[in-house]
Each structure stands twice: as structure tokens, then as C-alpha cells.
Amino acid sequence: MYNIPGSVTSPAAGTTPAKAGEGDAVLSSQSAANAAGAGVGAARTVAEVMAQSQTGAVLDELDRELVGLAPVKARIRDIAALLVIDRLRMNQGLQAQSPSLHMSFTGNPGTGKTTVALRMAQILHRLGYIRKGHLVAVTRDDLVGQYVGHTAPKTREVLKKAMGGVLFIDEAYYLYRPENERDYGQEAIEILLQVMENNRDDLVVILAGYGDRMETFFQSNPGMRSRIAHHLEFPDFAEGELLRIAELMLEQQNYHFGPGARELFREYIAHRIRQPQFANARSVRNALDRARLRQASRLFANPDQELTREDLSTILPADIRASRVFDLGAASAQKT
């Protein structure tokens, strides 16, 4: 299990921020209520709530930094809208029952499930739905024990760590192994269901996995399906979107395409998409990593050349052209 950096990470023992003043140890429960509603005041318009919670900024950031994924973004907008309206209802003294926000993310490899989950934690935190906004990402190994009586404490410990934030269970279908009757996964699922129901205000559970296998998982665990309100389908990226993703990735690492490289990479994507084991954004990232390797060895080959900032950050067409993908693409084009 790991806490993803960038979100609020758990305070590592020893390196604790000792800034919290003694005044924090307040005893009145009234200040608890104040703290919970901090910065909300008594907003009456959507704009006011948006301004106070910076929801708009988060949604814009989502639009800017995540390419494509239109249905996912639409659903996130819906959820954000509901939470904002709930805020307003609460300010007017109307009943605002906190909605169930457990989600399942299904989609092919590399379609951004983990990235969106991380964002989700931030958004829900800004909207005040979860208190801490950290993401705890786990897989089967972190939840399921190895012998009788091991699973329950293990699962509960993970759940306790995730409280106040988002619990992201990657490849959730592995939890359930129908072929082994005595598998402890079922026990983990039961505890999970119980906490999802009883501690709805304390944590949001996001299950992620590949579409078809998640479908089988839900079929064998109908209780799980009904407790998850939001089933989000992550579509595959189009070629243009993948190119845009590549540019964003390079930008983040202080690289850019040299003349002609962008067009060549578009060609590369077109070839790669048709080949087996294509993993969307992940394949793009790997391709870029390999291009960086080739760029490095190209520069390495001329030890006496003085390298400028520009040289060091430019990916040339040659770095991409060397890829095996083009040969395979050409071969398959000849065959057909």
C-alpha cells in the first residue's frame, strides 16, 4: 500500500509538523461545528459556494490537464454540482442527506483511472465532502490476509487509514476468486461493504479495473454493485488525444518535440494503436521514455559537442523514427 505523493500524505512518524499550536486542543464541541463549516459562511448563490470552495478552479484544472474523457468529466461536474447545491440547501436549513459517492472506474489499461481517482480526492476535499483529501491506493494484497483471522484486521487497518479520504482499490476484481471456495477475499469484501454502508460520511471507496472483469466481479457480488452509485466508464483515447497527452507529458518533463517530430509521433501513435497490447496513455508514456533514451544516447555519441539548453530538451524525429513500431507497421501494411 502506498500513499500517492501530491495528495495529503500521512504524517510520517518523526517528521511531524510541530506547528499545530497548543490552542488546537480545544474542548468545546461548538468549535467542532465551526471548524466543519469553516469558510462556508452563509452562501446563497452557486457562485459564492464555488468561490469559497474553489470548485471552479479544480474543475478547470481537470479540463486543462486531463485530455479527453468527456463522459467522466461530465459525471464529475454532476457530482460537483450536487455537492454545491447541497451546501446551499444546508445554508437554507433544508435537509441535505450526504449522497453516497462510492464509485467504480472501469476502462482499458492506461485510460486514466488512477489519475482521475487522485483528482477525485482533491475535488471531494475542496467541496467538503471528505475531510482530509488523501488517497490510499491498495490492491488485493493489502486487504486480504494469508491465513484464517488475518484478513479482518488487515482490511480494517487499511479502511482506518483511508478514513477522511478516498480508498482506491486497483484491480478490484482480484478480491473475488470464485475458483477457490476458501479464499479470504470474500471476507474482505464483506467488511468493505459494511464500512461502505455504515461510514459513508468518513470515506469514499473507488473500485477500479478492466471493464469485462469488473462486470464478472459485480455479477458475483450484487451487494457491491448496488452500494456503488456511480459506475464510470473510461473510454479509449482517440489518436489526437493521445498526441495531446504526449505533448503534456513532455512539457511536464521540460522536453518538447523538435521540427517534424510531432508529425512523426502522430504517425507512431497511428501504428501503435493497431498493434496488440496497446495501453493508451501508458503506451505513450513508455514510447516517450524510449525516445528520451535514444535522445540521450544520440547526445552521448558526441562527447565534445557543447550542448545547449535547446539540445538537451528537444526530441528529434530520429529519436522516434528508430522505434520498432514503424517496422512492424510497415510489415503489416505490406501483408495486407
Binding site: 504524517p11 518523526g14 510541530a18 475531510r131 487497518e157 482506518k160 487509514k161 478514513m163 477522511g164 468518513d202
Partner: protein, 146 residues
């Protein structure tokens, strides 16, 4: 009563105050988490002042970010041991500190008869004194029953 004026056990923090509500306990836990402490739930039915180490209820909770996890554990301890003393302790693992930084009682039996002084006469009419809980005569698990 001279020896037990409040009729309450006074050990740890906040023990002279009225019992903390769950909201107040949550705030205290939150404070400890902000300081990076690891919380643990402990219980006993032998609250002798020299009984330093109470029974642990589950493991100490490291790496928590929110008080809800501690409250969940406290709730299950309360339902398992409703008549016992239950306390929350916060362990500060900072190098060189490595000790309990906070500790307070969060559950008490309905009646707390307190302690009595036991006098023992020894050599040369010397008196030795010790204290003994009134409930300590009964076997473990049967104390503090009405």
C-alpha cells in the same frame, strides 16, 4: 467521602472534567494526529494507579489521517467492554521522545467505588501503607457490575 471526593477515577488528562462527548474526543484525536501521534485504545477493570499497562484493544494505529478510524475502534471497544475503563493513548514516535504524549479516559463503569488504604503492621510497629481498589477483590471480568 474523604478519600474519593468526586466518586471518579482521576487519571490522565481531563479526568477532573465532565466526561468528554464523542465530538470532543474526536477533536482531541484530531489534534494528536496533527502532531503525528499514533493512537491506541486500551481497557482495563483494574485501574490501580500503579497498573500502568492496560490491555490493548487491537493494534496501535499508525499512519492515520482522520479521527474517524480511531473513533471506529473506540466504538467497537465500548460495545465489547461497556463496563470497563477505556482510555485513548497517543504515542509520540519522535526520536528521543518515543513515549506516550496524551492519555485520557473515554469510558467508565457506572459506579466507581474507588480505593481504600490497606495498613500493614511490620517490625517494631512500623506501618506500611498501600492502596487497594474496592473492586479488585472480585475476579477479572466481574468487577464493576451492579
Amino acid at each position: 467521602m474523604m478519600t474519593n471526593p468526586t466518586g471518579r477515577l482521576t487519571q490522565g488528562q481531563f479526568s477532573f472534567l465532565p466526561d468528554l462527548t464523542d465530538a470532543e474526543i474526536t477533536l482531541q484525536v484530531e489534534y494528536g494526529l496533527k502532531k503525528g501521534y499514533a493512537w491506541a485504545v486500551e481497557y482495563t477493570d483494574d485501574p490501580h494507579p500503579r497498573n500502568t499497562y492496560w490491555e490493548m484493544f487491537g493494534m496501535p494505529m499508525f499512519d492515520l489521517s482522520d479521527a474517524a478510524g480511531v473513533m471506529l475502534e473506540l466504538k467497537s471497544c465500548r460495545s465489547t467492554f461497556p463496563q470497563h475503563y477505556i482510555r485513548l493513548v497517543a504515542f509520540d514516535s519522535t526520536r528521543g521522545v518515543e513515549t506516550i504524549a496524551m492519555s485520557f479516559i473515554v469510558n467508565r463503569p457506572p459506579v466507581e467505588p474507588g480505593f481504600s488504604v490497606v495498613r500493614q503492621e511490620t517490625n517494631g510497629r512500623t506501618m506500611r501503607y498501600t492502596i487497594r481498589g474496592h473492586e479488585a477483590d472480585r475476579p477479572e471480568g466481574e468487577r464493576y457490575r451492579k
